[in-house]
């Protein structure tokens, strides 16, 4: 009985494992291998040792991409606190919640490609955001969101780091808060605690695990899921203002056809992803065991 169960189990997981081995595990390892070569994607690959890495560390765009990613990561606190606070308001109960839930969740289901495109239009200098600001008399806030390097990067941070995940964040944290023991709140009320106190002393500590999870999730989204959005939003520009490691791989590999060099970038990204993945797997492991 035991033996046949093991055999059956391996049969069941074989399709998944096969696909993962071929299309994820092998590519990740092959990247590292290829980073020591020079290759145009066709023909021969020449061994070049650490040349690609030396070039990369001297490459200004590499350091720009690291800087950009770091700045994007700085939007995570905002992208975490905002949904938590809004959820804390909402948990008290709301009429017509299903409709609101539907509306705020909308960005998620349209996909990053579509959202990126929408905002590439909405944030133009002569686009609707500036139009609305002007109409409201806030004309001097109507800046060139997409074409000034600093503005572009921060626009990316606000839209991709905060806005795009607000809806999902609220639903996520509301679910987390729904399992908080009501008696904690009653006790706080008896103690005479105001909303703000209750928020920090009861609500936030109780959802600590969810907050950790959310932060790791946000890191992953920024490090490893941003490419389709950035591609349709600003194409990595203006200049290299919204350039990230992912974009660097795309640029080196599919525009310049410098595959070995792209693999060097990929190997750096691999290290960052690996670190975050450890945190994510740790959290998921705790989640399952709980």
């Amino acid at each position: 009985m035991m033996k046949s169960e093991a055999v059956d189990s391996y049969l069941l997981i074989m399709p998944l494992l096969l696909l993962l081995a071929v299309f994820i595990l092998y590519p990740v390892i092959a990247n590292i291998y290829l980073s020591f070569f020079k290759w145009k994607g066709m023909g021969r690959a020449t061994f070049t040792g650490f040349d690609n890495y030396q070039t990369m560390f001297k490459d200004q765009t590499f350091w720009t991409s690291i800087k950009n990613t770091s700045i994007l990561l700085l939007y995570i606190p905002l992208g975490t606190i905002l949904p938590i606070m809004i959820s804390a308001f909402l948990r008290e109960g709301l009429k017509g919640w299903p409709i609101f839930r539907a509306i705020i969740y909308l960005p998620n289901i349209l996909g990053y490609v579509i959202i990126g495109m929408i905002f590439s239009i909405v944030l133009r200098k002569l686009g609707p955001l500036n139009g609305v600001l002007t109409v409201l008399g806030l004309g001097n806030l109507a800046l060139d969101w997409l074409n000034k390097p600093d503005l572009a990067l921060n626009s990316l941070g606000i839209v991709y780091g905060v806005w795009i995940r607000l809806g999902f964040g609220c639903i996520f944290f509301l679910a987390a808060m729904s399992s908080i023991d009501e008696s904690l709140y009653d006790a706080a009320k008896i103690d005479g605690a105001l909303w703000w106190r209750t928020f920090w002393n009861v609500t936030v500590p109780s959802i600590r695990f969810s907050i950790e999870f959310w932060i790791v999730l946000s890191c992953i989204e920024i490090l490893a899921r941003a490419f389709p959005f950035i591609y349709t939003f600003t194409r990595g520009g203006p200049g290299f203002a919204t350039f990230t490691l992912e974009y660097g791989i795309y640029n080196a590999g599919f525009i310049a056809f410098n595959m070995g060099y792209a693999s060097a970038w990929a190997s750096v990204l691999f290290v960052f992803c690996g670190i975050i993945a450890f945190f994510q797997v740790e959290l998921m492991r705790k989640n399952i065991n709980a």
């Binding site: 399709p15 998944l16 696909l19 990247n31 969740y105 490609v113 495109m117 609707p128 389709p228 993945a277």
Partner: protein
């Protein structure tokens, strides 16, 4: 409190609303009237997008490709999910963690090698190739959800089937699928939306024009220089309409499935 929500809803909805009304304006009207409702609504942009822009072909492509991909996706997720969630075998936990670990890697990191592999398999420009890559990329998350679900299912149902001596494939159809129907609906929807909106792998592997997906279609339209906003927005709405409708009908399942862990974009 309602005020916050209204502001919130407005911020969430306005960009989409803007795209919608723009798509209904003629280029001429758009120049003068950017913000408000069209005075003279027209479907000319849609006609252009669907006919000249080939969007109809791309739409049909996506409608063929994605259900096919979803069948493979379901097969993989249900089988593996059930095994990880309900069965016992050596290294079960370590293998499962490895699967979760591999979920993190971004498309760009994999693309260079994936292209080589697919090319060596002679599957470039085929839907088979793209389906294999899509399932490899999206199935781990689906498997994770099915695993969490199956591990919460009562033992008796499974045990009775094993004692009957049912073969693994009989188990698949007579047990694994029926007991997980609600969850299967959820991962189908999540899988559908991930695949419908997917761009990098499609661009990489589908280079022949007549094979392209609808998201590729609008992606390439955006790249066209000098294309009117009115036309681009019509393209965007065309691509967005399907996930949108799906969402209206399956709202509850979608939001339920998403906080089962992480969400892949």
């Amino acid at each position: 409190m309602y005020l916050i929500l209204i502001v919130f809803a407005f911020i969430a909805l306005y960009p989409l609303f803007f795209v919608l009304i723009t798509s209904l304006k003629s280029a001429g009207e758009y120049i003068n009237n950017k913000l408000l409702l069209p005075q003279k609504a027209t479907f000319a942009n849609y006609r252009y997008v669907w006919i000249n822009g080939n969007m109809l072909k791309y739409f049909i492509n996506s409608c063929i490709l994605i259900p096919a991909a979803l069948i493979v996706y379901l097969f993989v997720c249900i089988s593996a999910g059930f095994a990880f969630g309900r069965m016992r075998f050596p290294f079960r936990f370590s293998i499962f963690l490895s699967v979760l670990f591999l979920m993190i890697f971004p498309q760009m990191l994999l693309s260079i090698q994936i292209f080589q592999i697919i090319r060596n398999m002679r599957l470039v420009n085929t839907y088979v190739g793209l389906i294999l890559v899509w399932v490899a990329y999206f199935a781990p998350f689906g498997t994770y959800i099915m695993t969490t679900y199956y591990s919460s299912v009562p033992m008796e149902i499974v045990e009775s089937a094993r004692i009957d001596g049912a073969s693994i494939w009989q188990m698949l159809f007579r047990i694994m699928v029926p007991i997980a129907k609600p969850m299967i609906v959820i991962i189908v929807i999540i899988g559908f939306q991930s695949m419908w909106n997917e761009l990098p792998f499609s661009l990489l592997l589908l280079q022949t024009e007549h094979l392209r997906t609808i998201t590729q279609g609008i992606g390439m339209m955006q790249g066209q220089y000098g294309l009117d906003d009115t036309i681009l927005t019509a393209a965007i709405i065309s691509a967005a309409i399907v996930p949108f409708i799906l969402f209206i009908f399956f709202q509850r399942q979608i939001t339920m499935g998403s906080y089962g862990g992480a969400v892949k974009g």
